[in-house]
Amino acid sequence: MTDKPVVLVANRGEIAMRIIAAARRIGASPVLAASTADADSPAARAADRVIVIGAAPANQSYLRPEQVAQAAVHAGAAVVHPGYGFLSEQPKLCELLEEEGIAFAGPRPETLRAVGDKGSAREVAIAAGVPVAAGVEIADVSNVVHLGEQIGYPLLIKAIHGGGGRGIRLVTNPEELQTLAPQAAAEAEAAFGNGALYVERYYGKARHVEVQVFGDGFGRAWIFGDRDCSVQRRHQKLIEECPAPNLTDARRKVLHDSSRALVEALKYRGAGTVEFLVDTETEDVVFLEVNARIQVEHPVTEEAFGVDLVAAQLRLALGQDPELPEVGPVPPAAVIELRINAEDPEADFMPNSGTISKLSWPRGPGIRIDTQIEEGYKFPPYYDSLMAKLIVRAHNRDAAVAAIRQAARNTTIEGLKTTLSMHDFVLSHPDFIAGAVPTSWFGPTWEARKENNA
């Protein structure tokens, strides 16, 4: 036994590698809680010890709070880091650990509950003075036209207890509203056991901009700038960058100040993200949600500001100073991240698995690779398709775009289909190069490319 604190890594893939690296940075001993499919993964080899918590399917392993908590007890863990996805925003894991006196590298359970539901998150945001989309709950689905007048068109009908885009309807006029509201209520009732709906202003050409926050749990807030994540396909982020390009000082101030107010109001603990829509047709900026975890795209912020957010999470959870600096609103660098997924962009982004037969990464200053894959690694079919994140930092956005385009071209991954070719298309596109595309940009642009080539 050593007297190093043990960090239980309750995740897999690249974020497991990342947490292991952070554990080593703070002098802790990383132990991996893995499914049988990952018991011999690169992350397993990088950890000091591996505890098999269940079978390959995530719902028999990574999604089981009691199994993860049991592994933490077995490991003698001082802290559990849940990564993103899986149990990262589940109050249950946090509570089980609290009972065992083990720290959770994330917000308190009550924070997770407060921001975990769209309705309550919106209330929290409003209370903290964060701008939200004009919206109102539907009291009576047969009497909705006055709500449309109040909010303006186009608008969205959303299920209050919904998620994943289900039950959402786009409405452009009063007749549609009258017809679609009862349908949406029935669908929400069927899908979520609750037919409650609200209507909300719809922004068809908005950007997705988010603010990286960190709280000490007692009301102190750090703001680490913003990220633009507008290159999305079906709400899945493909490319992220820090800082968000072409953002006026005034808008940036609204985003940062609101996020700070929210962290302070929640006495938020650890790393989190406040997501916003930034409209490109009006001056509107509206709150979307709080992601109460470290995010996939955290490296662009780390590289832009020169900080280690995951190490800060672990330090805070261990009762230490998170060792984070106060920084200005705009970082001294421009950073872009590509998500390289095991998907075939020529076949509707169909995921695929297989053995990595050849792998070669670009090298050089400002290039960072967060990944779990290596030559010979069998990319498993059980989990999400993220293979690697390629992150490049440069002195301004133009240089960063040029550098990451070349870095992507200097990346070789053989053995399965990847999204690298799609990235080359985006990084070479004048709209992306100009900066600040809306979230609605990628889908039709990518489809049009195929038509143009046909």
């Binding site: 018991a39 397993a44 010890r49 505890i51 918590i53």
Partner: protein, 161 residues
């Protein structure tokens, strides 16, 4: 593949390789694979020996009750010969319903698929563990009150007896 080599064939190969001069060797035949090394720096066919390293480290670090992770993997060499009943979940394995009580089952007992052979406690929840197959129990591989992982072999079972 016409016929699978028997377990004895495999042991013979290991014996043969052990007498050889090779620093390291990796042999695979159908779904059987043997990877051996005399060197602690062996990184060819990396999977097996490397995976064992953290386990060895964990054991050396004084965590004897926890069955090593790699042992749970199908092809790992530490898996005992013969059929076993394996832990269906992570937790603490108990052979008795309460301290001082009789064990659920003993070596030599005949069990059916639904016979309880122990309990796994996970976060204070007690989960009875059924044999899952009929046969005669052999040696218990997991001790009473031992921390087990998914796949840790608990007890040998002879399903032909």
């Amino acid at each position: 593949m016409a016929e699978q080599p028997s377990w004895q064939d495999l042991l013979d190969l290991v014996a043969q390789l052990n007498e050889s001069n090779f620093e390291s060797a990796a042999v695979s035949y159908g779904n059987i694979s043997v990877t051996l090394s005399n060197s602690d720096t062996f990184v060819g066919g990396a999977a097996a020996p490397v995976a064992v390293a953290p386990v060895a480290a964990a054991l050396a670090a004084g965590t004897p009750v926890l069955t090593p992770a790699a042992a749970a993997a199908p092809a790992a060499p530490a898996t005992p010969a013969g059929e076993t009943i394996d832990a269906p979940m992570i937790g603490v394995f108990y052979r008795r319903p309460s301290p001082g009580a009789d064990a659920f089952a003993q070596p030599g007992d005949r069990v059916e698929a639904d016979t309880t052979i122990g309990i796994i406690e996970i976060m204070k929840l007690m989960n009875p563990i059924a044999a899952g197959k009929a046969g005669v129990l052999g040696e218990f591989l997991a001790q009473d009150a031992q921390a087990v992982e998914f796949g840790t072999p608990l007890v040998i079972i002879d399903t032909n007896a």
